[in-house]
Amino acid sequence: MAQTTFPAETPAAASYQQARRRLPMARALDETRAFPVILIGPVLVFFIVWNVVPLLWLLGVSFYQYKLTSARPAEYIQFENFIDIWRASEVWGLLGRTLSFMLLTVGGATLLGMLLGFLFWGSGKLPGRRLALTLLFTPMVLPPVAVGTFYRLILDPIFGIANFFTEKLIGQRFDFLGNKDLAFATTIAVDVWMWTPFMILMTLAALASVPKAELEAAEIDQIPWLKRIWYVILPNGKFILMLGILLRTIDAFKTTDLPYLMTNGGPGNTTEFVGLSLYRTGFEAFQMGEASALAIITLLIAIAFASIYLYVLSYRETRAQLQ
């Protein structure tokens, strides 16, 4: 490695020599070829220990009939667990329900988040904006266990505050979490309430990435608002927005805690999604082989979603460059 040299008597030379004397170990480390490996090593070890090994273990277990509470040793059954899942109609129902939940919560949070994000973006000079934003972000920073518990209390058919208002307003009480026609929609509404702030944040970040000159030019050119969004804001902010949607999609697909705390998957299985089903199969029924196979399928679906998003983004960019 080429060393920096300074004329002997300059202040820079004195400072450099002082730094050399003070940090001989750091300098030696900095100059070694192993330095990049040393930097990346801990992360790599962490990734292997906490991600790769458990994933391989999970993959291995998915080929076994393995019940934790059984005295029988684990039996290698090849793809039997996957075949059982493929044939089980309730698993398809579960996946369909989870996908519906995912589409509706992500769609709802995205639309609301974008709308509120635009409103907040245009209110830069309004007093109290910062406080309003902080309050608006509160649902996102609350632990899901708190949200689930609060909403169980708020929506309680007998002493919940929501029913106090519905009775006052329309003279009727609702069992939001116990009625099979309402429970699914209520769970979606709570999830949207909880994650809309995240999409507001992503929308604000996307809007902040739009060059000021482009917005000012569109204003001077009297471009209508919808066209401004399409031709100015989306081309600049779509990567951040899509990243937000991708993260929310993956998160919504594996939602477990909120339905578990609010409805425990019920009534019946109307609010039981993949995450909760996995938990029950693994830690209530202790069917580790079957749970692992379902987890692998869930992982593949999540990877497929991520790939689709990335493909769509890169395809559009590539197409624009080729044209």
Partner: protein, 376 residues
């Protein structure tokens, strides 16, 4: 066609006065360049005129209409930004057409305007291309064409050539020159590049520390700066300055300096006699290996060749307070001068400017002592 007037316009950012009580009229149908060093307030002034920045005090008039409180979209102006702004994902043609779609024009009128703008900016070959594929220079042409097609009452340019590559810069400058001539529209053009301003402007408004210090046609501004700042800022290098003693009373003034072999008669200067500053453009200084009329001996310290073959000669003259200065001479003259050694230097009196202690130009005529005063 209306003019743009600003009256007592002030803009402050905290303690900084970016625009300081500016009252000025940009004449209709002319290209006015706002020229000045970075941070002098020229872009802020333009942004206030465009409505993109709110003034702290003062008013902006388009003709007789006070537009100070109108939003940019309601001011019917066009603006070309420093950063080439194009609407991405669509063709050059669609880019130019997009603002026209919300103007309730007939389809034939829209097509006519777009075609005309494309022709004017020389974009015919790339009209169907996606703007994402274009280089910055062509993108800036698209941005200009878009504003031209809208036919706003004024067009504002905010350093439009700064962010394009060197090759495109020249081409874009040529296109803008042709465009401004053919449009005969009220145009304000902000730049810190004096060559650009000299090339494009009908008049240049020179700015310093938030104020317009002088406004004049390019040649006049260059040859007769109103103050030392104008002399220093314009030219490459700028005017060179020397202190000199102005003595005598009104009607019989004399200027003495080691740069003149004898005192110079000064007419027109009024007020008390004092030290003044002589200013002259480096290219107006005459150098010769042999004595010239009105020359004094000088010493060449070094000479360097500049772009275009001109020589920049560093000189010293005995007895001169600030001692060293630079002169710019033609290749034919420079080649004959020694790399170092004695020469003769003369300041043509008709090219010399006088500035008072505050740095303001003194309107005076200089002539060799004993020569008839033609100014009388």
């Amino acid at each position: 066609m209306a003019d743009i007037r600003v009256e007592h316009l002030t803009k402050t950012f905290g303690a900084l006065r970016a625009v300081d009580d500016v009252s000025f009229a940009f004449p209709s149908g002319k290209v006015t360049c706002l020229l000045g060093p970075s941070g002098c307030g020229k872009t802020t002034l333009m942004r206030i005129i465009a409505g993109l920045e709110a003034q702290t005090a003062g008013a902006v008039y388009f003709g007789d209409h006070d537009v100070s409180r109108l939003s940019p979209s309601k001011r019917n102006i066009g603006m070309v930004f420093q950063y080439p702004v194009v609407y991405r994902g669509i063709s050059v043609y669609r880019n130019i057409e997009l603002p026209l779609q919300s103007m309730k024009l007939s389809r034939s009128e829209r097509i006519r305007r777009v075609d005309e703008a494309i022709y004017l900016m020389g974009l015919t070959a790339s009209a169907a291309q996606d703007v994402s594929k274009l280089d910055n220079g062509t993108r800036q042409k698209v941005a200009v064409a878009r504003e031209v097609a809208r036919q706003p009452q004024f067009i504002l340019f905010d350093e439009p050539i700064t962010n394009v590559d060197a090759a495109s810069k020249l081409q874009l400058k040529r296109s803008l020159k042709e465009l401004t001539r053919s449009l005969s529209q009220t145009i304000i053009y902000v730049t810190h590049d004096q060559t650009e301003a000299m090339t494009l402007a009908d008049q240049i408004a020179l700015m310093e520390e938030g104020k317009i210090v002088q406004c004049a046609p390019p040649r006049e501004l260059y040859n007769h700066p109103a103050d030392r700042f104008g002399g220093w800022f314009l030219g490459n290098p700028g005017m060179v300055f020397f202190t000199a003693a102005l003595s005598g009373t009104d009607g019989a003034r004399a200027l003495a300096s080691p740069l003149f072999p004898a005192p110079i008669a000064v007419s027109g200067a009024t007020g008390e006699a004092s030290d003044v500053t002589i200013g002259i453009r480096p290219e107006h200084i005459r150098l010769s290996a042999d004595p010239l009329p009105g020359s004094v001996p000088a010493q060449v310290d070094r000479k360097t060749v500049q772009i275009g073959g001109q020589y920049l000669v560093a000189l010293t003259v005995d007895g001169l307070a600030n001692h060293g200065f630079k002169a710019k001479v033609a290749p034919s003259v420079g080649e004959r001068l020694p790399a170092s050694g004695p020469v003769h230097v003369a300041l043509p009196l008709d090219q010399v400017s006088l500035f008072d202690a505050a740095g303001n130009r003194i309107a005076a005529t200089l002539r060799p002592a004993g020569a008839p005063n033609r100014a009388q």
